[in-house]
């Protein structure tokens, strides 16, 4: 029997029961749409993470105070003061750490920023001039503070674009030269520390949950002593010239800091070096695991959809028993009958798959629009592989779950089938 004729026949049979056909394919449609969406979201998340990395700058190391506890998180409330500015100075020694192109010491905290009658809660960074060497950014206006301003503890501040907008946007005032006051709960100076705005950083967006445009930057010593009232550091960021030198630099940083802290025994190490690449790897592993889990859920939906196909094909075979008997009487072989019903099942699941692919792509696209609207660098990616996979799985589901009813139809005794009421 001509396969084209079978397809024509099958389509006619499916069209004859539009409602039932639609309900039957729903399970497959949901499953396939799920697979497409999950794979697309996975790719989107991947692109987001990579985007964040390039935003912060690549090949970065972060040194933070305290030993990474294998036994669990540090005790809450415990303040570790082991990291100090002289450590950063020592790390700038090129004979000790040859591949570092920038070493930036910083503290971080939250404070109220006041200008005239406006007060905004913001996150501030007390940092040094090497901030520009470890992070990618451009200035929208003015400039970042210099080495001299930093070491001299000049009362200057650089604003993130959003903070600047929030403070000065309404009145149209040029932020450069304006004096703002920064207040924190721990400082002694009443009314806050007055700082003169010398620069505004161009918009950068978010990186790892921190909106970079809502930060303000001041010389390290101002942040440490006048606002936080401390003498230690939160973080030293180190930029490595090439990805190939990251591990040798980690070793060098480790050696320098142990010398600085007079540590002989590994057990007493009081700092931790984080590698940005490791963090990316961990994040990718998490997204991949999550994707795998969601794909597994979609696979369950496909199996349930397949059982739906099995069920409806059994009903179809029972309903069309007389037709099967007639076909056999006029010369259909077992193979011809089997192929007809198998093809019907495959066509059903393929149709379901096709609709699923379209819906999946649409939803993925809508999600990417939403993510972009929320300010994330979300790429809309539909991989060819996921489409091929979906088509393959749909056809396979049809074969697997259509085979049993098709064989059952093929095995019907023509005499019994013709008598069937």
């Amino acid at each position: 029997m001509n396969p084209l004729l079978i397809i024509k026949l099958v389509i006619k049979n499916l069209l004859a029961r539009k409602g039932r056909t639609l309900l039957t394919i729903l399970g497959i449609t949901i499953g396939v749409a799920g697979v497409i969406i999950v794979i697309s979201l996975g790719a989107g998340a991947q692109s987001l993470i990579l985007g964040q990395v390039t935003k912060l700058g690549s090949n970065l190391l972060y040194v933070q105070p305290g030993k990474t506890a294998d036994s669990g998180a540090p005790i809450p409330g415990l303040v570790i003061t082991s990291l100090v500015e002289s450590d950063a100075v020592a790390l700038r020694d090129r004979s000790q750490v040859p591949d570092a192109t920038g070493v930036n010491a910083s503290v971080k905290g939250s404070a109220s920023v006041v200008w005239e009658n406006k007060s905004i809660d913001a996150t501030f960074m007390g940092t040094d001039e090497e901030y520009s060497k470890v992070t990618n950014f451009t200035m929208q206006a003015g400039q970042f503070f210099s080495a001299a301003e930093n070491t001299g503890g000049a009362n200057v501040v650089v604003l993130g674009s959003e903070i600047s907008q929030q403070l000065f946007g309404d009145s149209g005032t040029n932020p450069l030269g304006q004096v703002i006051k920064v207040k924190s709960s721990v400082q002694s100076q009443a009314g806050g520390v007055p700082l003169r705005v010398i620069g505004v950083i161009a918009p950068r967006g978010s990186a790892f949950t921190q909106n970079q445009d809502e930060l303000i930057f001041m010389p390290l010593v101002i942040g440490q002593e006048q606002i936080l009232g401390i003498h230690y550091l939160n973080t030293i960021s180190i930029k490595v010239d090439d990805a190939a030198n990251v591990s040798s630099t980690i070793a060098a940083v480790n050696t320098v800091l142990k010398q600085q802290h007079h540590i002989l025994d590994e057990v007493n190490v009081d700092f931790t070096i984080h590698n940005q690449a490791d963090a990316v790897k961990i994040l990718s592993t998490i997204t991949n695991a999550l994707s795998l889990f969601l794909v597994a859920m979609a696979a369950i939906s496909l199996i349930v959809g397949g059982i739906g196909i099995l069920n409806i094909m059994m009903v179809t075979v029972a309903e069309r028993t007389r037709e099967i008997g007639l076909r056999k009487a006029v010369g259909a072989t077992k193979k011809a009958v089997r192929n007809q019903f198998l093809l019907e099942a495959i066509l059903l699941t393929s149709l379901g798959g096709l609709v699923g692919i379209i819906i999946g792509i649409l939803i993925s696209y809508l999600i990417s629009l939403l993510m972009k609207y929320l300010g994330y660098d979300w790429a809309f990616v539909v991989s060819v592989l996921s489409i091929i996979l979906s088509v393959g799985v749909s056809v396979l589901t049809g074969v697997i779950f259509g085979l049993f009813p098709a064989i059952k139809a093929a095995k019907l005794d023509p005499v019994e089938a013709l008598r069937y009421e």
């Binding site: 029997m1 001509n2 004729l5 006619k12 004859a16 007389r322 037709e323 008997g325 007639l326 076909r327 056999k328 009487a329 006029v330 010369g331 259909a332 072989t333 077992k334 193979k335 011809a336 023509p414 005499v415 013709l418």
Partner: protein
Amino acid sequence: MNLINIKNLKKDYITGDVVTPVLDNINFKVDQGEFVAIMGPSGSGKSTLMHILSFLDRATSGAYEFKGQDITGFNDNYLAELRNKEIGFVFQSFNLLPRTTVLDNVKLPLIYSQKKNQDALAKKSLESVGLSHRLNYYTNQISGGEKQRVAIARALVCDPAVIFADEPTGNLDSKSGNTVMFLLQQLNDQGRTIILVTHETDTANHAKRIIHIKDGNILSDEKVRVRTIATPDKSLIK
């Protein structure tokens, strides 16, 4: 040459340990061009006999030669091919495909054959039963008599050696039934072998020979002395 030659045919239905004999020691021959009626009350085994003769079922024992060939050892695929080429069926309940046009119904046996020009063959077949004007009608849009004529066209389309008609007038009014019997007689006059299965003497008398079956045995096998000739329906006179 005999078209059909059966010797010592026996058929038992086996359900678990219970063996029910349906046909026992059946012997007869049918020549090319005959018009035979197989008669008997329900449960006599006449339908089972027809199913065996038309390769839909197999005998428990005995020999069946079709066109001089012993078919008892043939496999299912070969029997399907034989049914397609050599047998045409007309059923009491028509057995037309629903939601399908008259033309496509008639084409059904052709799609399982290797024949070319299937549309032309189907149209020619429908013309011979006077239904050229119904080609694209759906089977639920035509009358019972027309349905049975479509079934006859379907039976004829592969140019079979023999047509089996199982109670072909059973679901029809007398006028439509008369038309169907007229068509069968006309086909027989053209040389086609017809085997009619019925329990009605009036219908059986349209044949040339009647085989009576009762309780699985042949009761009698004789020529029809006074044959009923069906009058043609006016719509069929060209």
